[in-house]
Symmetry: C2
Subunit: 232 residues, 2 copies
DNA sequence: CGAGGTGTTGAACCGGTTCAACACCCGTGG
DNA sequence: CCACGGGTGTTGAACCGGTTCAACACCTCG
């Protein structure tokens, strides 16, 4: 999965691909709604999502704000390679499998393969670009558009790692989770989802969403995929 | 300035410091409110702020959202080292001097000095952490706290590069700029600033702000400096 | 002097919150 | 088997933080 993600934004030669496939890792499974990492932790290894869904969030006085969704292939704490402490919490949303890769291993492969080092750096830079877009999303757009934007992003990213083809995509989260990501109350999430349904743009039911009018949804969401820096 | 910024988050040996000081660069001066880079641009060099203030922002249907302030020492487009296109606009707020450093030069120094490479990567990771905090700031906090948080951040970062000692700090921006950063209307910026003044926490006048009650301001802002990952 | 950008204030309005009630589903235990 | 409880989804109604519109003050600069 990590390889898939890296390839979605950077080209890698056969030797590098093989090196990544050969990376040693431990595997672990977590139930839904489980804290995996906490703000303040010091890490000696990185996580890569294999299946399921993780979120990064921070608590602020009243309320928790999700800052990122992590789909398979993502490395939610790749930044700990160079940042001593974690500044956010990472937890599962649904039951998820993750791989642990030791920092020492990652640093070694990055040293031996400059193009892998560049690709890893690039992954963190794309994450950064996504955060910027989230600032815009939350700072400027009304609730319905915010949700629409989130769905557009997830769909695009899932497609990029081959986890969604048509207009349907698994997103096993609750309306509560959506509210924490969009910075709006659960009640309003509910009403905004109904509005999206009413407009014939999207339905979200039982952890799966279907886009019925992609152009219309992207229009409403003010979504342009360029900030994801996919190389397709 | 770049060296100062790097040293504020990462230790560097004498050899590396000397290498950074010896970096060749061109210099340029821009008036206030001038677009320096536009979303979609392809860069062959990076900017480092020497004096003044720059902002990164994105336009979204209606309204512009600032995603970052760049004080002296910052490199607003360091990500272009690995991302082909720029996804945001960068412009001056006030008259500013910037240095241009060629990508090729940066890549060379990074190749020759792994610790500089790590420090540059780390800078982009800290930027990322700041974006996360901004998502929380805009998504969760009421207007007064948002502004308070912005002031706390600027003050902390300015101190880190030696541009603020006491409780006073130059921040040559308008209330309009503050509104675009906090995601609130100008009118409400005005009222929120008055509220901060009324509470005896902070005054902002003529491009300079003074913190009168730092503990109180940080409390209201829900500000903890850990996300800036300063090594002090 | 006039024009344009910024700061300031008032008043009406509205998007979104909050509180509260209820429906529904599912797992648990008597 | 059903009763119960907890988590989630849904809806209504009152409320409020923040927006919008509008007017005016102030300053700077041509």
């Amino acid at each position: 999965m990590l390889l898939k993600r890296l390839l979605s934004i950077a080209p890698l030669a056969q030797a590098e691909r093989a090196a990544i496939k050969g990376l040693p890792f431990r595997q672990a499974v977590f139930d839904g709604q489980t804290e995996i990492l906490r703000a303040g932790d010091r890490a000696t290894r990185c996580i890569v999502v294999l299946t399921g869904l993780l979120v990064t969030s921070k608590v602020s006085g009243k309320g928790r704000q999700t800052t990122a969704f992590h789909i398979p292939g993502d490395a939610p704490d790749l930044q700990t390679l160079h940042l001593e402490t974690l500044d956010s919490d990472v937890r599962t949303v649904t039951r998820s499998e993750v791989a642990y890769i030791e920092h020492s291993v990652l640093k070694a492969i990055a040293r031996d393969h400059p193009s892998i080092s560049a690709a890893l750096w690039k992954v963190t830079l794309v994450d950064s670009a996504v955060f910027r877009e989230w600032v815009v999303n939350i700072g400027q757009r009304p609730a319905v558009s915010r949700l629409a934007h989130i769905f557009c992003e997830i769909m695009t990213r899932m497609r990029a790692v081959g986890l969604a083809d048509g207009a349907t995509c698994a997103l096993p989260i609750t309306q509560i989770d959506l509210g924490e990501a969009a910075g709006i109350s659960v009640v309003h999430v509910n009403r905004s989802l109904r509005e999206l349904r009413r407009r014939g743009l999207l339905t979200f039911l039982g952890g799966v969403f279907t886009i019925h009018d992609e152009a219309g949804l992207m229009e409403l969401a003010d979504f342009r995929a360029d900030y994801l820096h996919l190389n397709s």
